[in-house]
């Protein structure tokens, strides 16, 4: 088996023939067995539609989906050997927790003894044994989330689908459940596809991330690739918090030496584009240091301590630049500072297309 999930040329259009909106524009993704794929993007980027197409809850306009080497187009959701965790949990309100977890097995005519063993096993895995007799309305948000995952786990599916499962939880619980999902994935090894708009969830959970925007796959790669080698300015600014600084400038060659000319300074950097073309320099906040000796200077605009780090926003002639500094550093708004770039960590983008050079 080469891939657990194969998404081939998926297009999806909504609306009548003369007034269609194309929400997915030819998406191709291969997911290897055991992988944890994240679909991330702003709302309306088509990520949930793609998940629904994988689940069989919606049909694609064009393209094919294969799960475990079987083409599943036209196969109803129940027969795709998949399980899904919904954003609203979607627990059956009149059934107990145990009945919720066992419902799919009951429909599949799994014998009662085996069913109960499976419910007990899942409950132990999720530490919800004491809740089995309760109704969903008697549970807290985090407990409902666990039951929803238990319902999916009990099926032992080939593929797990998560539709923004953590977005209804408060911040502390979200971090807790994020770790729980990661633990369960490592424990079960079941291939998973996870939709989120939260880039932190994407980075922490995914073994690979698919960044989407406007129905187009912007980049597909490991969290490391996405973060350090973003394919375009959209990915660069979407992933990472605070976001990547983009500085506009021009490469100037004087004799053998090249430098990058930006408004108010000339940086000793060489870019892959050696003409006099305007390019964008991408700089993560952690790859800039405050240094008195640097020639690129600006005025501190804002100081944001977060505890572990302090982010300093510096107003320079070339625009605002966010810099990550150690919390011990004493800077105040109004101070004039110099910015020193770690030249081996810069990313270059074409100004017109936004693509990485």
């Amino acid at each position: 088996m080469s891939s657990a999930l194969e998404i081939r040329g998926i297009r999806k259009c909504f609306g009548k023939s003369d007034n269609t909106v194309e929400v997915l524009k030819r998406i191709d993704i291969d997911v290897a067995p055991g992988e944890f794929l994240i679909l991330v993007g702003p709302s309306g980027c088509g990520k949930s539609t793609l998940l629904n197409i994988i689940a069989g809850l919606e049909d694609p306009t064009e393209g094919s989906i294969a799960i475990g080497d079987h083409n599943v187009l036209g196969v109803p959701p129940a027969q795709r050997d998949i399980a899904m965790v919904f954003q609203s949990y979607a627990l059956y309100p009149t059934m107990s927790v145990a009945e919720n977890i066992g419902f799919a097995l009951e429909i599949r005519k799994v014998p009662k003894a085996e069913r109960q063993a499976r419910i007990a096993e899942v409950a132990a895995m999720l530490q919800i044994e004491h809740l089995l007799d309760r109704r969903p309305s008697q549970l807290s948000g985090g407990q409902r989330q666990r039951v929803a995952m238990g319902r999916a786990l009990a099926r032992k599916p080939q593929l797990f689908l998560f539709d923004e499962p953590l977005s209804n939880l408060d911040a502390k619980l979200r971090v807790e459940m994020r770790a729980e999902i990661k633990r369960l994935h490592q424990l079960s090894g079941i291939t998973s596809v996870y939709v989120t708009h939260d880039q932190v969830e994407a980075m922490t959970l995914g073994s690979r991330i698919a960044v989407m925007k406007g129905g187009v796959l912007q980049q597909l790669g490991t969290p490391d690739e996405i973060y350090n080698r973003p394919a375009n300015t959209y990915v660069a600014t979407f992933i990472g918090s605070p976001t990547m600084n983009l500085i506009e400038g021009r490469i100037c060659t004087t004799g053998a030496a090249a430098h990058f000319a930006i408004a108010g300074a000339q940086l000793a950097l060489s870019s892959p584009e050696n003409s006099g073309k305007t390019t964008l320099l991408g700089l993560r906040p952690e790859h800039i240091r405050l240094s008195d000796k640097a020639i690129w200077r600006g005025v501190v605009n804002l100081v944001e301590p977060t505890g572990a780090d302090t982010y300093v926003v510096v107003e320079t002639p070339a625009g605002k630049v966010t810099v990550r500094t150690a919390p011990q550093l004493q800077v105040r708004p109004g101070d004039t500072v110099g910015l020193e770039i770690q030249a081996d960590h810069v990313t270059w983008f074409d100004q017109a297309s936004g693509m990485r050079l």
Binding site: A78, A83, A90, Y92, P93, F103, P136
Partner: protein
């Protein structure tokens, strides 16, 4: 203490209570007159005022109204009409409620091409005056061989009630989250499995509303009863009308009142038993997981 008693808020409160009490008296007065009159004998009615209490509890009028008052030529009280109404109302209420639940389930959770149009057409049935359908309906009952029978009345009430019951269930089910349906589909449940295992158990409040609504409509109906019933299938409303209109030398007000109370008791009983669900069901919105 006296200052507190005369504070503006307590004056308003007193006014509020006086208004409410006047309202209660106004609306309960007819019922009071009916009850006390039904417990008096003819002499008492003649000699005392309308609102005076009976000298002693006398249930003769009730007995007469139940099994021996004359309704036209026949003198067997309301009893046969009462049972006609029961045999008519119970199946009609149960079937129209169950059918409405199924309609509502399809129209809100299994939308198909044209389902909204179908629902809009169904809504006509809610607002249509029933007099419009009397003639065509009587024709249809004739073709079906159901004229002048209880079965015919059941069919008429079933069809007349279906738009309302569908509307109730459709609006209630519209609040069910789409994810719940998707989860059930992923779990492998089909149309009927989802209906019986997930949707119906969630429907108690709206079932109560529909049962009360339909029972009241059907039990209190006079128009269909008088138009489509035969000699031995007349419902209690028609029986009451005949009883009150059967003239004898002296108008037996006590018997008329007892008969009216007998005709009205079942619906009142239903409200007392299930009334708390009525308000709850009407105000219940989306079903929370």
């Amino acid at each position: 203490m006296s200052t507190k008693f005369f504070s503006p808020s307590s004056v308003w409160r007193a006014l509020l209570y006086i208004t409410l009490i006047v309202g209660v008296v106004f609306f309960l007065a007819p019922l009071y007159v009916m009850v006390v009159t039904s417990l008096k004998d003819a002499d008492e009615i003649r000699e005392h005022s309308l609102v005076s209490l009976p000298g002693m509890l006398n249930f003769d009028a009730w007995r007469l109204a139940w099994d021996s008052a004359c309704t036209g030529a026949q003198c067997s009280g309301l009893e046969p009409f009462f049972w006609n109404s029961v045999w008519m109302a119970v199946p009609a209420v149960l079937i129209s409620t169950a059918w409405g639940a199924l309609n509502g389930y399809v129209l809100s959770l299994w939308k198909f091409c044209g389902s909204e149009t179908l629902f809009a057409l169904l809504l006509f049935g809610v607002f249509m005056p029933f007099q419009v359908v009397l003639l065509p309906m009587s024709q249809v009952l004739g073709w079906l061989g159901l004229s002048s029978s209880i079965a015919g009345l059941i069919l008429v009430h079933l069809l007349a009630g279906l738009p309302s019951t569908t509307l109730f269930f459709r609006n209630y089910y519209a609040g069910i989250p789409k994810d719940l349906m998707n989860a059930a589909r992923m779990d492998g449940a089909g149309f009927w499995m989802i209906f019986f295992r997930i949707i119906v158990p969630m429907s108690t409040p709206i079932v109560m509303v529909t049962l009360i609504w339909q029972f009241t409509q059907i039990w209190n109906d006079f128009l269909f009863g008088v138009a489509f019933s035969g000699a031995d299938s007349k419902p209690i409303t028609v029986g009451l009308n005949n009883l009150a209109n059967t003239t004898s030398s002296v108008k037996a007000y006590n018997v008329d009142m007892a008969a009216a109370l007998i005709a009205g008791l079942p619906t009142m009983l239903v409200y007392v038993v299930a009334g708390r669900y009525f308000v709850r069901g009407l105000t219940a919105g989306a079903v929370k997981g």
